[in-house]
C-alpha cells in the first residue's frame, strides 16, 4: 500500500489532499461525510481582520465545467475565528491552514500577529482574492506590491507562511520568485481566474461587481501549467490547485512538482471528493508500483 503522507515545512500531513479555502467551510461541516483525519489539512475561509458581510447580489454561476463565484470574503473576522471556528477545527484531527485575506498591509500584519499565538499550523496568505476591491488582488497582480506585503507579514509571522498566488498575476514566475525572495516559506496556486457572465434577459452583468472568480475543471490545464512554471522557478514547496476532481488530476500536479494539492470546487459535486481523490491516488500508485509521492514528484520538470 502506497504511503501518501507528505512532509510540508517540517510537519507531516496525513495525506496529500487539502480542502481549499472558501469551499470547505471550517472543515467540520464535512465531518459526517468525510474522514477528515485522512486529509492533509483544511484551509479556513479567507479571514480578514475585521470580518466582512460579503457581496450583495448573485454569488454563484455555473459555466461549462466551471463555477464563477462572487462571495466577497464573507467571514467573521480573525478574533471571532480564533474564539469560535478554530476550536471546532481543532477537533478535525488534521492540519489547520488559516487563510488570511486582505485589506491594507497593516491589517495583514495585525491578523498575522493574532494568529501567531494560536494552534493554527500554517498561515496561507491570500494576496489573490478577485472579489473584493481591497481583498488583495492588487497585491496579487504586481510582483513589486506582493513583495512588500509578504516581507512585512513575514517580519511579524511566527507560523510557516504559505503565500497563495493569483493566476491573474502579470507574470507567474516573477510573482513566485518575488514572494519567495520576500520570505514565503511555501507557495500555493492557483486562486480563481477573473471571469464574467452576462444575463441576456436582464442585459446586465450577472454579478454586482461585474467580474468574479472562475474555478473548477475548466481552469485545470492552465492551473497545471502555472504550477509547473512555478516549480521550475522556485525551490520552496508548492501546493497545486485548480480544478482537481480525480486522483489522476491530483497526480498530474504532483508530477508537475507540487508537494501537495488542494481541492475546492470538486467538493460541491461530491462532498466526499477529498477522500475519494486520495483513494484514487493510492490506487494508481499501487497499480504502478509507486510507493511514495517522492518517486514521481516533479518528474515532468
Amino acid at each position: 500500500m502506497a504511503d501518501l503522507r507528505v512532509n510540508l515545512l517540517g510537519k507531516t500531513l496525513n495525506g496529500p489532499v487539502i480542502g481549499a479555502s472558501g469551499t470547505y467551510g471550517y472543515g467540520v461541516e464535512y465531518a459526517d461525510m468525510v474522514d477528515l483525519t485522512k486529509l492533509g489539512g483544511v484551509c479556513s475561509k479567507g479571514l480578514t481582520l475585521n470580518g466582512k458581510p460579503g457581496n450583495e447580489g448573485e454569488r454563484l454561476w455555473e459555466t461549462p465545467s466551471g463555477l464563477i463565484n462572487s462571495i466577497g470574503l464573507q467571514n467573521p473576522g480573525v478574533q471571532h475565528f480564533i474564539q469560535h471556528e478554530l476550536p471546532e477545527m481543532q477537533t478535525m484531527g488534521t492540519a489547520i491552514f488559516a487563510n488570511l485575506g486582505g485589506g491594507c498591509i497593516e491589517d495583514y500584519e495585525e491578523g498575522t500577529r493574532l494568529l501567531n499565538d494560536t494552534p493554527v499550523d500554517f498561515i496561507e496568505l491570500n494576496i489573490s482574492c478577485p472579489n473584493v476591491k481591497h481583498g488583495g488582488i492588487a497585491y496579487g497582480v504586481k510582483a513589486e506590491s506582493a513583495k512588500e506585503v509578504v516581507s512585512r507579514v513575514k517580519a511579524v509571522c511566527k507560523k510557516p507562511l504559505i503565500v497563495k498566488l493569483s493566476p491573474n498575476a502579470e507574470s507567474i514566475p516573477e510573482m513566485a520568485a518575488a514572494c519567495v525572495e520576500a520570505g514565503a516559506d511555501a507557495l500555493s496556486l492557483v486562486n480563481t481566474f477573473q471571469a464574467m457572465a452576462i444575463d441576456l434577459e436582464r442585459r446586465q452583468p450577472v454579478f454586482k461587481n461585474v467580474y468574479a472568480g472562475l474555478s473548477g475543471p475548466a481552469i485545470r490545464p492552465i492551473a497545471l501549467r502555472m504550477v509547473h512554471q512555478v516549480c521550475k522557478t522556485v525551490k520552496v514547496p508548492v501546493i497545486g490547485l485548480g480544478g482537481i476532481a480525480t486522483g489522476r488530476d491530483a497526480l498530474e500536479f504532483i508530477m508537475a512538482g507540487a508537494t501537495a494539492v488542494q481541492v475546492g470546487t470538486a467538493n460541491f459535486a461530491d462532498p466526499k471528493a477529498c477522500n475519494r481523490i486520495t483513494q484514487e491516488m493510492a490506487e494508481w500508485m499501487d497499480k504502478n508500483s509507486v510507493k511514495t509521492l517522492e518517486e514521481i514528484r516533479g518528474c515532468c520538470l
Binding site: 472558501g22 469551499t23 470547505y24 467551510g25 467540520v28 461541516e29 464535512y30 465531518a31 459526517d32 461525510m33 475561509k45 458581510p53 460579503g54 450583495e56 448573485e58 454569488r59 454563484l60 455555473e62 461549462p64 465545467s65 466551471g66 463555477l67 463565484n69 462571495i71 464573507q74 473548477g216 475543471p217 476532481a245 480525480t246 470546487t265 470538486a266 467538493n267 460541491f268 459535486a269 461530491d270 462532498p271 466526499k272 471528493a273
Partner: protein, 255 residues
Amino acid sequence: MRALNCDCKVLENIRLNESICLLKAQWTDKDHCPKAGQFYMLRCWKQDEAPLLSRPISVHEWDAETQTISFLYEVRGEGTHKIAALKTGELLNLTGPAGNGWPVEQLLGKKVALVGGGIGTAPLYQLAKELAAKGEKPSYFAGFRDEPYRMEAFAPFCQTTALATDSGRFGHHGLVTELFDPKDFDVICCCGPTPMMKAVTKLALEAGTEVLVSLENKMACGIGACLGCTCHTKNNGAISVCKQGPVLKGEDVYG
C-alpha cells in the same frame, strides 16, 4: 445535526403533469431522519458531468415507518431533467438532511396558515402532516398558474383548503393572497415565488401576524461551507440559507 451523503434507491418516480414529478427514495439512515422544511442536495449524474452543482430539493414527505422520502419537483433545466429520467431501482445521491426546517413545536397551539405558490407548495406538505399528527390542523391556501397538483393530498391534514389560479380555470381566479385574511391567523408559513412571499410578508406584517418564509437561494454546497447562499437579513446579519435557513422570518428577509 450534520449532513450525510448517501446513494439511495429510487422507489418510484412519476409524472403528475407535464412539468411536475414526484420521486420516492429509500433513506436508510435511522439516526439522521429529515424534518418538515429540510431539504437535500440531489445528484444522479457523475461528479464530472454537467451540471456541475447538485440540486437542492425540499422534503415533500417523510414516512418514518417505511423510511421513504418523497420529493415533489418541477422540471426546469438540465439538473431536474436528469432527475426526472430516473427509473425505479436506480440510485440517487443525496446530501442531507440540510437546513433548519419549519419550527413545528413553536407552531403548536397556534392558528396556522400554510400559503404556497406553485412548486413552493412542496415543503408545506410534510409540515401539514406533522402538525396534524400533533392534533393541529392548519389551513391551506395554494396559488397555481393553471392546473393545480397535490391539493387533494393536503385535504386530510388541513382544516380547509382553498385554491387560486392565474388562469381562472381552477378555483378562485386571482391571487393566493385574495383567499385569506392574515388577521385570522397567528402564523403564516409561506413558500413560493419571491414576489408572492414578499406580498404575503407585507400583508401579514400589516395584520400583525407572524410570517415564516422558505427561501430558494442558489446553492453550491448545501451544508454551510461555501457561503454561496447568503441572505443579508434585516436583524441577523449575513446568514447561510442552507444552514440557518431555508426557513426564515419574513420580516427579516423582506422587512
